[in-house]
């Protein structure tokens, strides 16, 4: 028990359980506990969760990535322009998006390690540049910023499959989450990430290739956004440049709710998964309450704050023993 509570994900797990219990009691009779209700929050949690896995790794490594939302929108446009406007096979559009995303991540990483500027401001700039350049390209090529994307090959099944309303993104969340947890807990790369985020100078003196670690993390962060952008685009067969804008905040929020420190060096990806779950439950649960819909955002904000406070209390309590 003592060991469990000392784990960095313990707070996130408690938060997720608390909000689940809250909505199960207050909104269970309105369908929150139904199959459909469960699918709703799990789908939301899984899309955010996929974004939050590499964002969490990056934050543990001591950096931020504000450009993920823009990469989601850019991916959406690239996939839609290829398969919708030019009727190219879907996998080609996806491949282009992967190359683009990796390029953005590489640029983010290189700029941060070469200039030593805060990643907050570097990725804020690349966020704007990504959106602006893709908007220019899409208006230039198609005259529009929102394009129908009809799945035309196996990619459609791979990213848009659903059982009842349970979306295949849940499966990817579990698979990539498990792989990332393995990397972080069991490999030397994982140790390097914690060391880089903990104290970059000490890590470098100890022989950790901190620059390379950071660049790789930035690339992974963009690639997570590419996957989610493709999934969301095909789910509604519509490419939109504004898709994913919310992940600038919710991606980081999921990590923090899950116990990742904003200063880096501490946290866990299992916690991040609980953070995404908490966010998914809260942001959908409020609609099941049947309360005044105008106050929805107030409830979401207040519940997230309560979740973080309880999580933080728990950590202080656990470390204090």
């Amino acid at each position: 028990m003592r060991r469990l509570i000392h784990r960095p994900e313990a707070g996130g797990a408690i938060s997720a359980l608390l909000v689940f219990a809250f909505f199960a009691i207050l909104a269970g009779h309105n369908g929150f506990l139904s199959l459909l209700g469960t699918a709703y929050w799990l789908d939301t949690a899984s899309e955010l969760g996929i974004i939050a896995i590499p964002v969490g790794m990056l934050m543990i490594g001591g950096e931020f990535d504000l450009s993920v939302g823009a990469v989601v929108g850019a991916t959406s446009m690239i996939v839609a322009i290829c398969s919708g406007s030019y009727e190219l096979p879907g996998w080609l559009g996806f491949s282009l998006a992967v190359v683009f995303g990796a390029g953005v991540g590489l640029a983010n990483g290189l700029i941060v390690v070469k200039t030593k500027l805060p990643s907050f401001i570097v990725t804020l700039s690349t966020m704007l540049m990504v959106t602006g350049s893709i908007l220019g390209v899409s208006i230039g090529l198609t005259g529009s910023s929102s394009i129908s994307a009809i799945p035309n090959d196996f990619l459609g099944v791979l990213v848009a499959f659903k059982w009842h309303e349970f979306h295949i993104s849940i499966l990817y969340w579990v698979l990539f989450g498990a792989a990332a947890i393995y990397v972080m807990e069991r490999t030397s790369f994982g140790n390097w990430v914690y060391a880089t985020g903990g104290n970059v100078v000490t890590a470098r003196l100890a022989g950790v290739p901190t620059d390379r670690v950071k660049v790789i993390l930035f690339i992974l962060s963009s690639l997570g956004a590419v996957l989610v952008g493709t999934i969301e685009t095909y789910a509604f067969q519509n490419g939109s440049i504004t898709l994913g804008a919310q992940y600038v905040f919710s991606g980081i929020a999921a990590c923090v709710i899950g116990g990742v420190l904003l200063t880096g060096g501490y946290g866990s990806l299992l916690g991040t998964a609980f953070g995404a779950t908490t966010y998914g439950i809260v942001s959908l649960g409020v609609f099941f309450l049947g309360w005044n819909a105008d106050l929805t955002e107030l409830f979401i904000g207040a519940l997230l704050l309560l979740a973080v406070i309880s999580n933080n209390r728990l950590r202080t309590f656990a470390l204090g023993r």
Partner: protein, 339 residues
């Protein structure tokens, strides 16, 4: 062929002699001839309106561009950033005034911010035409005309259509919380619904969700679970309309819940054909842009303008006329809709 200078711009006589439809036809003929005259100074038009990353605006921009090209006018389109709409509405209008154009066309979405700036432009001798939103204030602000759609009228049409189809409890979904134009539409819907003896409620989507169709669909689905009596939904853009269709299908209440939406999209047109969407309200944004530029040009050049507001909507698309609209949608890019 006298060029009306800015200082003469405010003469009321000019408006009195304007004969709306006739001047438009005449101008179209003259416009095609006049740019050839070398000594005629080019008319510069600053057009402040929504961003092209909002799928509503590409047709509006296209209409403005087409009219400018036809007339040989210089068009300067200044997009408002919707993510920061209050501050951006002020900045863009200030930029337009600073450019000293011959005439300004502005989408007055945030009236509290934009109205004083319209007055400022008028005071500086720049004639202003209000576009798309601002139907209640344009005359008081000293603007010379309004081209667009009256928000409450859209809501009235929506309430009538849904009630006629049998809806008793209508949900009006607002996708940009705090946008007065979108709220005016739901208010118009609520008032008409009350008059017709049916109930209505508003659902304001969280700001963070409005760009994510999947999340919007789940939000609406969850709301429907908690409010099982809802049997009619009206949404204020195409993406949210598609999300609402998906939500009622997932909840297996598609036969009970009727859906109408604003904004044309390829998917929405198909859904009307399939009977999944009852109707859509077309504001005809292409005409907002086209007439916006055309009226501004005619006023700057000849002092002529239509008298009173010119309505570009609400025009309704349903099963009866969807084929014609679809054909034009497919043939001409960015005229009916953008996606």
């Amino acid at each position: 062929m006298k060029f009306i200078t800015k200082s003469q711009g405010g003469i009321p006589l000019a408006r009195k002699i304007a004969l709306g439809a006739a001047s438009m036809g005449l101008a179209a003929v003259m416009g095609s001839v006049l740019p050839a005259l070398a000594d005629d100074p080019q008319i510069t038009i600053a057009f402040v309106s929504g961003p092209l990353n909002d799928s509503f605006f590409p047709p509006l921009y296209q209409g403005a561009q087409d009219a400018a090209a036809l007339l040989g006018a210089k068009l300067n389109y200044i997009p408002i950033d919707e993510a920061d709409i209050e501050a951006s509405s002020a900045r863009t209008m200030q930029a337009a005034i600073a450019m000293k154009p011959d005439v300004i066309v502005v989408g007055d979405f945030i009236t509290g911010v934009v109205d004083p700036l319209i007055k400022q432009a008028v005071a500086a001798g720049i004639p202003v035409f209000v576009n798309q939103s601002g139907q209640d204030q344009w005359e008081a602000d000293g603007a010379l005309g309004f081209i667009g759609q009256q928000g409450p009228e859209v809501g009235i049409v929506a309430a009538e259509r849904l009630t006629k189809a049998g809806s008793k409890n209508i949900l009006c979904v607002i996708n940009v919380p705090g946008n007065p134009y979108l709220q005016a539409i739901c208010k118009g819907l609520a008032e008409k619904a009350k008059e017709l003896g049916v109930t209505s409620a508003n659902l304001e989507l969280p700001t963070a969700d409005s760009t994510d169709q999947g999340k919007v669909s789940r939000d609406i689905g969850a709301y429907l679970q908690a409010h099982g009596d809802v049997d009619g939904i009206f949404t204020e853009n195409a993406a949210v309309g598609t999300a609402a269709v998906a939500a009622v299908e997932a909840a297996q209440v598609a036969d009970k819940v009727k859906i109408g939406t604003m904004e044309v999209s390829k998917v929405a047109l198909q859904q009307i054909r399939d009977g999944k969407l009852l109707f859509l309200v077309n504001e005809q944004p292409y005409l907002d842009g086209y007439y916006g530029v055309m009226f501004a040009y005619n006023y700057a050049k000849y002092g002529l303008a239509p008298v009173g507001a010119v309505s570009t909507g609400p025009s309704v698309v349903d099963k009866s006329n969807v084929d014609k609209i679809s054909a034009v949608f497919d043939k001409y890019k960015n005229v009916i809709g953008s996606n």
